[in-house]
């Protein structure tokens, strides 16, 4: 694995050539920031902050055709997932989220759709220098220059970008750009460490998550759940825009004699989530649903996969229209008897 420097005057050529590889990068589209395809000749500007829609949407699309069907003997058709992609400018938190979600999709049933997309994607991360107000990655095991889930980590050193190959896939990509890159010296790596520390020091909000997974089962009936969920609208913002939320529903769309089976994002905050055919719902109110959201991330996932399913990106707290603030909930969990 190598650490290379990309002088900034080579950036347009670098992204221009990447554009030929099915490139996605953060872009503002009609006022909402998300990963969008980059065409040859497009300018890629990586600014501070993060996308509203996390890059999970590229690996785990909001709606995905599982297969198409039609009446007749050979009426089944599987979608082809065979196009490689490069994701540029993924924040370390969102890349960690991919590594965390991988565990679920690789669990007892290996999900071919997600895993194929994951395998075909090369993730180029961008270390953070200016954390947002609700960033708390360092409270949940991440950091502004964390490498988990990434193939290449990119750090803005001012005059140039440092590009560190982290996986074979990432290294192979770097090797293709040898003509634009120069070997990074020890000073560049030292500078990276320093910048990462400076960025971590700028993180404003934090919560001590130690003990939370152990405490949650004992707080099942605690009044805190009523308190923190009373204002909840039961909408899908916090889950849809969470980089680790991965619940989906499966529906058939049929027109005449043909149709498709597709899966789409689901949200545990919706009233019909886990509603049984009988009409009974084991999570009948927003209290149980909020409790489930927190428990899933901070207890069940830890039990099953040994890691908290939250990367501290702060989107849920940022985007909730009624100020249901994850950091505040976690602090209340810590403070509960």
């Amino acid at each position: 694995m190598s650490a290379m420097l990309l002088p900034k005057d080579k950036w347009p050529e670098f992204t221009g050539r990447l554009a030929g590889k099915n490139l996605f990068a953060p872009a503002l589209q009609g006022g909402i920031k998300k990963f969008a395809p980059v065409a040859a000749g497009d300018t890629v500007t990586l600014d501070e902050g993060n996308t509203t829609v996390p890059p999970k949407a590229l690996l785990f699309p909001q709606t995905e055709t599982l297969f198409r069907f039609a009446e007749g003997e050979e009426g089944m058709e599987l979608p082809a997932i065979d196009e490689a992609a490069v994701l540029l400018g993924v924040r370390p938190c969102d890349a960690r989220a991919m590594a965390i979600v991988d565990k679920l999709f690789r669990w007892d049933y290996e999900d071919p759709y997600y895993l194929k997309r994951r395998e075909l994607a090369t993730i180029i991360g961008l270390a953070c220098s200016e954390p947002c107000l609700n960033c708390f990655c360092t409270s949940v095991g991440g950091g502004p220059a964390s490498t988990e889930g990434l193939d290449i980590l990119m750090v803005d050193l001012g005059e140039s970008y440092l590009l560190e190959g982290l996986t074979d896939k990432g290294q192979a990509l770097l090797d293709e750009f040898k003509d634009l890159l120069q070997e990074a010296g020890a000073d560049a790596l030292q500078r990276k460490e320093q910048l990462a520390q400076e960025a971590a020091a700028k993180i404003k909000r934090s919560v001590d998550t130690a003990g939370i997974p152990e405490a949650l089962p004992g707080l099942w009936e605690d009044p805190l759940w009523q308190r923190v969920s009373a204002a909840c609208l039961g909408c899908g913002i916090c889950t849809y825009l969470c980089p680790t939320c991965h619940c989906f529903d499966i529906q058939d769309e049929v027109e005449g004699a043909a149709g498709r089976r597709c899966r789409m994002w689901d949200s545990c905050m919706y009233a019909e989530y886990t509603k049984h055919t009988s009409g009974h719902n084991p999570r009948p109110t927003r209290r149980e649903r909020t409790r489930n959201r927190i428990n899933h991330k901070y207890s069940y996932y830890v039990d099953k996969f040994g890691v908290i399913a939250c990367v501290g990106c702060g989107r849920c707290s940022n985007l909730c229209p009624v100020n249901i603030d994850l950091i505040d909930i976690l602090r209340q969990v810590k403070a509960a008897p």
Partner: protein
């Protein structure tokens, strides 16, 4: 706004045995955020606030609260719910009463004359959100912002929310108790948002909404926050038949938004919550205000001004106009 008077009134209400809780606002956990706040006892009123950041319409909680089956042998909780309302919010209460969505005997309405609310997103670039919650107050015609320990006068025009620039009813139209003196209604601004759409040709409008609806994430925050979107069994959630597929694409997204807009025609009280909560920045207010405008101008009808009467869509007069129908 005399906060002490408000807290005193609230304490009196929540101390009553026949009151379950009072829904108000409290300071949020960071930045400009304010949170809906459910107060069950008199001690809770200490955190109650009413400031230019209390833009959210709490009337939605009257119908959002789940009504679970009462276990055998238990009595249903028949206690009243008290609610703080601004002018726009109070119209939602009236509309719910007209539609028999809520029972008048079960609601205590505390009216707060509203000098206008702030859209904090208009301020965030100049005065970024801080870890500590910021405070805002009304000062004369303007707003006073306490930001990083500094007191800053923000001119009204710089921060007034769009719905408030267009407001025709700043004083509550229904209340059991009022705190504060009625405010002098201001001249509503020209609705430039609706004007922009009206100036477009039909293909341009289609292109405009195609771009907007394509952004929709189908998180349903607009539906859930809407005080008048309270069907117990929403067609969007129906699976058999599936009226609207959950698939995320322009066609299904449009079906969703048009269904909602038409269901709100003559019912929307223009509180602007749908647009405020949308994480994708879809200008839903323009859609709903256009319908409200048509209803107002063609039928002389404005929903939510009266607790009695017929719902607009349930009334018919032979002389009803139809010129606007394409």
């Amino acid at each position: 706004m005399d906060l002490n008077k408000l807290r005193e009134t609230a304490a009196g209400i929540v101390s009553r045995e026949d009151v379950k809780y009072l829904i108000g606002w409290r300071r949020g956990t960071f930045g400009y955020r304010v949170s809906p706040y459910f107060i069950e006892d008199a001690a809770g009123v200490e955190e109650l606030i009413f400031s230019p950041l209390c833009i959210s319409n709490l009337a939605t909680y009257l119908t959002l609260v789940e009504r679970l089956p009462v276990p055998r042998g238990q009595q249903p909780d028949e206690r009243k719910v008290a609610l703080l309302v601004k002018g726009c919010d109070s119209r939602a209460v009236n509309q719910l009463l007209v539609e028999k969505g809520i029972n008048r005997d079960r609601v205590i309405v505390v009216g707060l004359p509203c000098p206008g609310m702030v859209d904090w997103k208009l301020l965030a670039e100049k005065y970024p959100e801080t870890e500590a919650p910021v405070e805002m107050r009304w000062q004369g015609d303007d707003f006073l912002l306490v930001h990083n320990g500094q007191e800053i006068v923000v001119p009204r025009a710089e921060a007034l929310a769009e719905k408030c620039r267009l407001c025709r009813h700043p004083n509550p139209v229904i209340s059991d108790a009022t705190v504060g003196e009625p405010v002098q209604p201001w001249e509503p601004a020209e609705d430039s948002g609706v004007g922009e759409i009206e100036a477009k040709s039909a293909p341009e409008r289609w292109a405009y909404w195609e771009e907007q609806f394509s952004k929709c994430l189908r998180c349903y925050s607009c539906r859930n926050v809407c005080p008048l979107c309270y069907c117990e069994d929403c067609i969007l959630d129906r699976l058999n038949p599936t009226w609207v597929n959950r698939a995320f694409n322009f066609s299904e997204n449009t079906a969703f938004h048009l269904a909602r807009a038409f269901h709100l025609a003559g019912r929307c009280i223009e509180c602007g919550e749908c647009e405020r909560v949308c994480p994708a920045g879809i200008p839903l207010g323009r859609l709903n205000r256009k319908l409200a405008k048509t209803v107002r101008e063609e039928y002389g009808f404005e929903p939510g001004l009266d607790a009695e009467g017929e719902p607009f869509q349930a009334s018919y007069r032979p002389e009803d106009p139809e010129e606007f129908i394409l």
